[in-house]
């Protein structure tokens, strides 16, 4: 679009004028250094506890946010946990799921009644299944990275969202999640979307009363493996 560069220069110039400064190598290198090595953040005490305690915290916060948390000892038991949850909530045994290799490799034969459909979610899918890149104990937060393996629409369109996360991916604070993202996607790089999810969708916009399922899922079920 014409003039875009002019507008950028005008905005940047005005900022420099206001700051009483100019484009200097010293200021650039100060910024480069800050981006390269951020000062150590303050990670709250509660996020720096033993793994067992972190598991409790993770569960406690998610349940406090009206999510269901199921713990299974190994991946082989995930399909049964999903089947049990869906039957218990009287939901259809039909999942929309991406191409995530871990989810694909689960022992689905143990739950032959569960039907899986591949691809992004459409308006009529009732249950979405995703795998989280990380889980943060500090606030009971799932970290989902979008892509063909875990399409972003699975997280928001179906009324029920089931998320599988492995114990090895459970970290204490947000900083642990950033590290996992950087390890997977590289430094200074991100997938199209990263979603921090801490419960089912909600609103308090009518009379200040909390209601689940505003636009996204009414139910969130988290399966912690290992």
């Amino acid at each position: 679009m014409s003039g875009a560069g002019d507008n950028r220069d005008a905005v940047i110039f005005k900022i420099r004028q206001a700051l009483g400064t100019y484009d200097s190598a010293a200021r650039r290198s100060a910024v480069a250094a800050r981006l390269d090595t951020p000062p150590p953040p303050l990670v709250p005490e509660r996020a720096r506890q033993a793994k067992e305690r972190l598991r409790d915290l993770f569960r406690q916060y998610l349940e406090g946010q009206s999510a269901t948390v199921l713990e299974v000892p190994n991946a082989a038991e995930v399909p049964a946990a999903i089947g049990g949850f869906l039957r218990g909530a009287n939901l259809p045994l039909r999942l929309r799921v991406g191409e995530d290799a871990y989810l694909e490799a689960l022992a689905w034969s143990t739950e032959p009644a569960l039907e899986r459909r591949k691809g992004p979610a459409a308006g009529d899918d009732e249950v979405g299944l995703s795998r989280a890149t990380a889980a943060v104990a500090e606030t009971g937060t799932l970290v989902l990275a979008s892509g063909a393996d875990n399409p972003v629409t699975l997280t928001y369109l179906p009324e029920t969202h089931i998320v599988v996360v492995e114990d090895k991916d459970l970290v204490g604070g947000y900083e642990g999640a950033w590290d996992k993202l950087r390890a997977r996607f590289g430094r200074r790089a991100m997938p199209r979307t990263v979603n921090l999810v801490s419960g089912p969708s909600r609103t308090a916009d009518i009379g200040g009363q909390l209601v689940m399922g505003a636009h996204g899922p009414r139910r969130l079920c988290v399966i912690l493996v290992g």
């Binding site: 679009m1 875009a4 507008n7 950028r8 905005v11 940047i12 005005k14 900022i15 420099r16 004028q17 206001a18 700051l19 009483g20 400064t21 484009d23 200021r27 100060a30 910024v31 800050r34 981006l35 951020p38 953040p41 303050l42 509660r46 916060y61 992004p120 308006g123 606030t139 979008s146 892509g147 063909a148 399409p151 972003v152 629409t153 997280t155 928001y156 604070g173 947000y174 900083e175 993202l181 991100m190 997938p191 199209r192 979307t193 990263v194 979603n195 921090l196 801490s198 969708s201 609103t203 308090a204 916009d205 009518i206 009379g207 200040g208 209601v211 505003a214 636009h215 996204g216 899922p217």
Partner: protein, 476 residues
């Protein structure tokens, strides 16, 4: 730009105090938000230390804002976003209208964005014949009433459930007339059903941004409903509206600010959804927008950067200052007369629309200091309001009666003997008169105060007298 009624603040406030629906709505929601913040703060021992860190992050970024913006543009462009800079509201509207035109858009969905209100975007797009749909439930409620937000995070805080039911019955005429709409859950379900169709039909999705990250070229939105995510994930085109001060350096900095944001706003540990968006869909991605535009708005903020008001640019728009303000909680947000209400609005609005139109706002404060006390970014709001009052006074815009009053007060305050004598006569008199109730329902010359609240009666003796006794060792 949105309609400005800030010059009528006094009349607005009077009307708001007499509006029973509004008073009911305010009394239901605002105190709860303040109490929840307090509980969340108590649950995180590091909260105060995080406030210091948050302030430092913003101060550092603002001092290097030109460099960070260039770095952000470089990273965002590398990720496939198209970055636009908009010096004015008009520039921003033009950019967005052009994008919608080129996309041949018919339906535009929107996530919550205060900047969109600031630049009057909906009216501009509707003028081009587009169907514009607000998808945050609170924003939807006020859009169908033709109103503006009265709170920055709870835009429909001024509405009661009955009003919402009446609006839904009036507007959603394709649904059965005898349907039940008694519970909030039934109203939410109906809005979900209506808005779901809009999400799926939209050609362009517009969201705001809570943060822009220089490290990765990402923008961040924070919601509880997930509406912003459906807005940006389903249409072909995603437009992010952000102002220059949303910039932060790294993911670590976002972590620190996220620890402060929801706790200060709603008392949640974290909002339900915090979403990082970086460019359009990648090769192999089965969903997400095909094009991503980021519009970065100045609209007067650069000038603030070079003024004594720089600190207001640290604001992360949590709304805590509103929830704790005795003025806001008495009159609601609309009385302030423009987009940003409450203490933050009283500092920001004069800068954005001119102090001449907004001169009442910095005066609409008791200087109780609670806003500064609860501000996660430690913005000295009362001090900044005082700056505006000084500017107004030196410009000679303060009303005559007010100036005379100030002069009389100054004359007395600068003469301790005169002051003590006046106080020695006045205070016991008021104390005696107000003894029975401990407060006045009415006082001459204070009618506009006592019309809506009591004025506490003073103690029987002056502070100076009590202090003199204390020093002389007289027991109380």
């Amino acid at each position: 730009m949105s309609t400005i009624t800030s010059p009528d603040f006094k009349a607005n406030a009077r009307a708001a105090l007499g509006d029973r629906q509004l008073q009911r709505a305010l009394s239901e929601v605002a105190p709860g938000l303040a109490a929840r913040r307090s509980a969340a703060r108590a649950g995180l021992p590091e909260f105060e230390a995080l406030r210091d860190l948050g302030r430092d992050i913003k101060d550092h970024t603002l001092a290097h804002l030109d460099v960070y913006l260039e770095e952000f543009e470089r990273k965002a462009t590398a990720a496939g976003s198209i970055v636009h800079f908009a010096p004015t509201a008009e520039d921003a509207r033009r950019v967005v209208r052009n994008i919608c035109r080129q996309a041949n858009a018919g339906v535009v969905t929107k996530g919550k964005s205060m900047i969109s209100e600031e630049i009057g975007l909906n009216a501009a797009l509707e003028g081009d014949g587009l169907e514009v749909v607000e998808t945050d439930l609170g924003e939807y409620l006020i859009q169908i009433r033709g109103e503006t937000p009265s709170h920055i995070i709870a835009p429909a805080i001024h509405l009661t459930q009955d009003q919402v039911e009446a609006d839904f019955r009036r507007l959603h005429t394709k649904l059965p007339a005898d349907r039940q709409l008694i519970e909030p859950a039934q109203l939410v379900a109906e809005a979900r059903q209506i808005l779901r169709q809009k999400f799926l039909a939209a050609d362009v999705g517009i969201t705001g941004a809570n943060f822009l990250i220089a490290e990765t070229g990402s923008s961040v939105i924070v919601t509880n409903e997930g509406n912003g995510d459906l807005t940006q994930s389903l249409p072909k085109v995603h437009i992010v509206l952000a102002s220059i001060e949303k910039m932060v350096p790294t993911l670590e900095d976002v972590g620190t600010l996220v620890r402060l944001l929801a706790r200060s706003a709603t008392g949640q540990e974290i909002s339900t959804y915090t979403t990082f968006s970086t460019g359009p869909r990648r090769p192999g991605d089965p969903d997400g927008p095909e094009v991503c535009h980021i519009v970065i708005l100045d609209n007067g903020r650069a000038e603030l950067l070079g003024s004594e008001f720089r600190e207001v640019l640290r604001c992360i728009r949590c709304g805590a200052c509103m929830n704790h303000c005795p003025v806001y909680t008495a009159i609601g947000g609309h009385a302030y007369g423009w987009v940003y209400p409450g203490p933050i609005g009283s500092v920001l609005t004069p800068a954005l629309i001119g102090v001449a139109k907004a001169s009442h706002l910095p005066n609409a404060s008791t200087f109780c200091g609670r806003c500064e006390e609860v501000c996660p970014m430690k913005i000295p709001l009362p001090g900044l309001m005082r700056h505006w009052r000084e500017e107004e006074y030196s410009a000679g815009d303060t009303p005559l009666l007010y100036r005379l009053g100030l002069r009389a007060w100054a004359a007395a305050a600068k003469r301790p003997r005169l002051y003590h004598t006046l106080a020695r006569i006045g205070i016991p008199l008021l104390a005696t008169l107000g003894r029975r109730r401990g407060a006045f329902r009415w006082l001459p010359l204070a009618g506009s105060w006592t019309r809506h609240r009591d004025l506490a009666a003073p103690q029987s003796r002056t502070f100076q007298a009590l202090w003199a006794d204390h020093k002389a060792g007289v027991p109380r």
